[in-house]
């Protein structure tokens, strides 16, 4: 790769989450050499949770990030509340839906969830918000069990939790390894909701809008590739998640790879986050303008 290391290459710093199938487009772009082809050398930073990624983003470590919508919202709200000079802007969608609530076979209906323990990948994640809202709306008594994402399948197979909600491919691992069943998908909880987004820093937008356009285009090309060549995309996914194709097949059926941002669902999320108390610096009357300013899909 030293061959490409010519001075004309521009380096951009991109953050992503460990082992996340939602962010397949990034890995496809890397595997297919899209960045090099566009004269971009990327430096990849990987985090085990969205909130940590956002902290790092706001500290100025990253130019772009693939991250879940709620951490991005939290990050922007925090940045605007203070005088942070690194403000995230959503430039494209990464995927819609993609979270799955899997349970043991003993739970076959929504009412069965009553008085059960359901794992989540942590406070403030999209899955946490989806589940919390669902519990509220259905008047259920559910104990949420926040845990490291990678431990959820183990907790489930040990029988310590009756089910969990997480991003792919983790639920599919539990389905194939421990006989978990899909109780609800994102689609059931909130159809077509925004999941991961591609954010750019306001600094790179200001200093080099051309590179933002290129990155968004690469992202769109990669997303198109996934949708038109699912078989090769699944092979790439298998490479970085180290999972068998059968697990990836299950996971794929739960994720919609789509670069068009679902702005309405973002507003719904923000409203729910304000209600749940996870966002404290924005009030409900500011939701529309907050999200409208957040999303700028004019690049690429």
């Amino acid at each position: 790769s030293g061959f490409f290391n010519s001075p004309s290459m521009i380096e951009v710093r991109i953050g992503c989450l460990d082992n996340d199938l939602h962010q397949l487009a990034l890995h496809v772009a890397i595997a297919n050499g899209y960045f090099e082809q566009n004269g971009i050398k990327i430096k990849l930073f990987s985090y085990s949770s969205g909130p940590t990624l956002m902290q790092s983003f706001l500290a100025g470590d990253l130019d772009f990030a693939y991250v879940g919508a709620p951490p991005a919202i939290n990050g922007r709200a925090a940045a605007l509340a203070g005088s942070s000079s690194n403000i995230p802007v959503i430039v494209a969608s990464v995927n819609l839906e993609g979270s799955t609530l899997v349970t043991s076979s003993a739970i076959s209906s929504i009412s069965d969830l009553n008085n059960k323990v359901i794992g989540t990948p942590g406070t403030g994640t999209i899955q946490d918000i989806l589940l919390s809202t669902f519990i509220l709306n259905n008047n259920l008594t559910v104990t949420k069990s926040p845990a490291l994402i990678s431990t959820l399948p183990i907790l489930f197979s040990n029988g310590e939790i009756n089910g969990f909600i997480a991003w792919e491919p983790v639920p599919s691992v539990a389905i194939s390894q421990s006989g978990a069943q899909v109780l609800l998908t994102s689609h059931d909880l909130m159809p077509n909701h925004q999941c991961c987004v591609l954010v750019a820093s306001n600094k790179i937008i200001a200093s080099n809008p051309a590179i933002v356009t290129k990155v968004v285009q690469i992202h769109k090309n990669a997303t198109d590739y996934i949708n038109s060549n699912p078989a090769s995309a699944k092979l790439i996914a298998g490479n970085y998640t180290q999972l068998s194709q059968s697990v990836i097949d299950i996971a794929f059926s739960h994720v919609a790879y789509n670069y068009t941002v679902n702005v309405d669902s973002m507003k719904t999320f923000l409203l729910q986050m304000i209600q749940l108390g996870t966002v404290t610096t924005v009030n409900s009357s500011q939701v529309d303008s907050f999200i409208d300013n957040f999303v700028d899909t004019s690049y690429g």
Binding site: S49, P51, L58, G82, G122, T123, S145, T151, G277, T280
Partner: protein, 268 residues
């Protein structure tokens, strides 16, 4: 106490040192307030904001409705359980390893490798192997066990040969020697190990609670609010952990002072 310039009287000295300590803390807090107000970063809470967070979490509770006292209680409970298990296992093993070279030769290759593996690294395995409170106990035990074990062995090794010979000259058998000479003689080191171990255990609680499961505990509180980017509560959690650690250390230290009046060195 070694002191190159003793200029003031002992009584005044003590009063003065408390005064200086309080002043120093005050200056620290004021500087913190000034710096955070100047930077005005959403991630750098002022002491006032941390205090407000304290009021909120200690009365209304956190986002899941658990109050600070509940978090503290649960964390303390976990740490003390882990501590108890560590004491019960480490002290007898340490005495045995100190007294019987055979036991030491058998055990030490394994303990020596394990003791450098940090508690966080055990999280995946502990989740697989254990469940519920046992998992917390295990992770805390991993952290607390080794300081106690090493100090117990060190205490045994420091036992005076003359004292053991003295007991033998009165016909004492091995059990009597351990009970009457080695254990009491190693007790200061053991107590020191307990204190250090409890401190380490208390510091492991964040790691232990990170693996998750239940939504309470000070470590969990920190993580929850770190996820929400509400750093005021994160700093509150840090300060509470620091203060409780300090208090536990102080309690054990003054216990030691009382217990080991006979030990002149401890005053140093």
């Amino acid at each position: 106490m070694l002191d190159l310039d003793v200029t003031i009287m002992p009584k005044m000295d003590r009063f003065r040192s408390v005064l200086i300590g309080v002043a120093s803390l005050a200056v620290f807090v004021v500087a913190w307030q000034a710096i955070t107000m100047a930077t005005n970063s959403p991630f750098l809470p002022t002491p006032v904001q941390v205090f407000q967070a304290f009021l909120k979490i200690s009365t209304i509770g956190d986002i899941d409705g658990y109050t600070l006292w509940w978090h503290i209680g649960v964390s303390l409970y976990r740490v003390l359980l882990g501590f108890a298990v560590a004491v019960i296992t480490a002290v007898p093993l340490g005495l045995l390893m100190g007294v019987k070279p055979l036991v030491k030769n058998v055990a030490s290759p394994i303990t020596e490798i394990i003791r450098f593996i940090p508690p966080i690294a055990w999280i995946p395995l502990s989740i697989i192997l254990l469940s519920g409170i046992n998992r917390y106990i295990f992770l805390l035990w991993i952290g607390i066990f080794f300081p106690i074990l090493l100090d117990t062995i060190a205490g045994v090794k420091r036992t005076s040969e003359t004292q053991v010979n003295m007991a033998k000259s009165f016909g004492a058998d091995n059990t009597a020697i351990i009970k009457k000479i080695i254990f009491p003689s190693a007790l200061p080191e053991i107590m020191n190990g307990l204190r250090v171990g409890l401190g380490v255990g208390w510091m492991c609680i964040v790691a232990a609670e990170m693996m998750g499961g239940e939504p309470v505990g000070l470590g969990r509180l920190i993580l929850k609010y770190a996820n929400l980017l509400q750093i005021d509560v994160v700093v509150l959690g840090m300060v509470v952990i620091g203060l409780i650690g300090l208090a536990m250390n102080y309690l054990l230290l003054s216990g030691e002072r009382r217990l080991f009046k006979w030990r002149v060195e401890i005053k140093a």
